[in-house]
């Protein structure tokens, strides 16, 4: 299986677990999407550092785009890449983040470390 195929599968599994196994329904909640919007912005930065500086490289036979060049940075945008990283990394990141947040909420709903709760921000009290 390619990275592309595993990425799509991982997102599907994460969504199914969120909806039907953990029953946390994170994907239906505004709180999740607001959090994810913030997370994905920073993912593009850190991922860009990983791939732009060639700490991690990718094989063109596993992704939509081409193989990472040997000694220069891959394209910043285009050839199946965004912020140097393969677009597949968005699938990888989404499934990792959704599973983590879903499980975190799952345990909270089950009463595990429900407290101390978050907030309020320092400047409000």
């Amino acid at each position: 299986m390619t990275y592309t195929a595993i990425g799509v599968l991982a997102v599907a599994i994460a969504v199914l677990l969120d909806l039907f196994a953990f029953k946390t329904r994170m994907v239906t909640r505004p709180i999740f999407w607001v959090s994810y919007a913030i997370i994905v912005f920073f993912q593009l930065i850190s991922n860009g550092l990983f791939t732009g500086t060639q700490i991690v490289k990718y094989n063109g036979s596993a992704i939509i785009g081409g193989t990472s060049p040997a000694d220069v940075a891959p394209p910043f945008l285009g050839d199946g890449r965004i912020a140097f990283a393969p677009v597949e990394d968005l699938l990888f990141g989404f499934s990792l983040v959704l599973l983590s947040l879903s499980l975190w909420v799952f345990w909270g709903r089950r009463g595990i470390d429900r407290t101390p709760v978050s907030g309020p921000p320092m400047w409000r009290k």
Partner: protein, 146 residues
Amino acid sequence: MRYFAVKPDMGSEVWSTLIIGNYGAVEDFMDFGRWSYVAVLIFVILGSIWLEVFLRTRVLRRPKRLLLTIAPVLLPFLVWDAYAISQGHWYFTESRILGVYLPAGIPLDELLFFIVIPFAAILTLEAVRSFKGTQSARWQVGDEVS
């Protein structure tokens, strides 16, 4: 230190210049040798840990829940990582990772990644909850204390 010009035909020249200025080349940007990978993780931690203080997210004060979340998610992703590495989907510049490997050739850096990223994600979720409050049903997730 190498100073390659970023090849125009890679399409990244303009963007790279916008991001890192005239530093020279993307691959020399943030070069911390063997600590390069870990440096990015430290960047992620610094970018999110302040939420614990200023938004009072109190994630570290819920260690059992944190462990029960990170550990089970870590396992399937390490399996994925091991498979991807064995198939050559992705590979690492060995001079830029710690050089310590887990079974199946997984760099230790990757294990740290699967701890740091979920932690930062949870901090973000709890920061949004801190900011929005949990009074309104719209922002609830079902673990609220009434």
